[in-house]
Amino acid sequence: MAVLDILKLPDPRLKEVSQEVERFDDELLAFIDDLEETRQAGPAAVGIAAPQVGRLQRIVIIDCSTTRKPVPNHGRLVLVNPEITEWDGFELGREGCLSVPDYTGNVIRAERIKMHALTPEGEPREFEMEGYEARALQHEVDHLDGMLFIDRLVSRRTDLFQRKVYQKGGKKRK
């Protein structure tokens, strides 16, 4: 096992589209171990994608089981060739990235998603995710498509933001 080097902006490899995994072998499992060790070595990352360490293959790890305030989650997931099939709702949230040090910003993501992927052994799996976990998966799948959260930043004054103020305020009022 080894902690791998994280590619950082403006490394052009972060903008590339990753390839599907076709070989499910011991080498893949060993790489996934290294990827997980790398995720845990950094500053509290809930997810990591293979291209962040320079391997342009569609592999991500997410783990939303250790947030300060518990959120709905499926524990630690290693997802190979993940594909989001349904998006529902939208929500603003703050994101940062191991590949973009010293910066955080607001990004709109779908609130709920349906997705399928393969396990590291090549077995198909399907998941429905919501909230923070759905956000984490969308952030990581973006990496596989050569997108970073800074490509999706929205203004602090975005219209969506202000409408949500009214909605939540309205519900709370007694």
Partner: protein, 172 residues
């Protein structure tokens, strides 16, 4: 690096940012963090400028373009520099019929909870006859969300709608 905070304020018109930053670029200056915003028909710039030479030199560089664009100019030498971001862990949203004292009341209660404001945006919207005040605050405090909610709950009697939420910044 010796940073200066450059403040420019004046009536909004197209091309302000381009002309100001072009003058700074030609003068050999480097820009750091900046906030540029239209407020009440004015355009406002607060921008960190690496003033390698003297305050006078930077002032002389920017004064002609400021004068041409009708911008008032202010310079302050500052301590600190880049890479000092702090990540907020709470967001407070406020809205209510506009009246004097909303900001003072809300931020006073936050300050009592040890809340350090990192960003504050506010706007008066609605109509001339029925103005509505909207404010969003992001900041950092060690206090719990329950403590903040209890503190801000005192504003309910004043018909100010306040909503606090934790910001769990996702690092991925």
């Amino acid at each position: 690096m010796k940073w200066q905070m450059l403040t420019l304020v004046g009536e909004d018109q197209p091309g302000i940012v381009a002309q100001v930053t072009d003058a700074l670029f030609r003068g050999g200056y480097t820009l750091g963090e900046a906030s540029m915003l239209r407020l009440g028909g004015n355009f406002t710039i607060m921008m960190m400028v690496d003033g390698g030479q003297s305050e006078q030199a930077l002032s002389a560089c920017i004064a002609p373009v400021a004068e041409k664009l009708g911008l008032r100019l202010h310079l302050d030498p500052i301590h600190g520099g880049l890479h000092q971001h702090r990540v907020p862990n709470f967001q407070v949203r406020v809205n209510g019929a506009d009246r004097a004292g909303i900001v003072a009341q809300v931020t006073g209660l936050l300050a009592e909870s040890g809340f350090n404001i990192l960003e504050l945006d506010s706007d008066v919207v609605g109509s001339q006859d029925d103005p509505v005040y909207i404010m969003t605050i992001q900041g950092y405090t060690e206090a719990t969300i329950e403590t903040l909610e209890t503190a801000l709950g005192r504003l309910e009697a004043d018909e100010i709608d306040v909503h606090v939420s934790a910001i769990e910044t996702l690092i991925g």
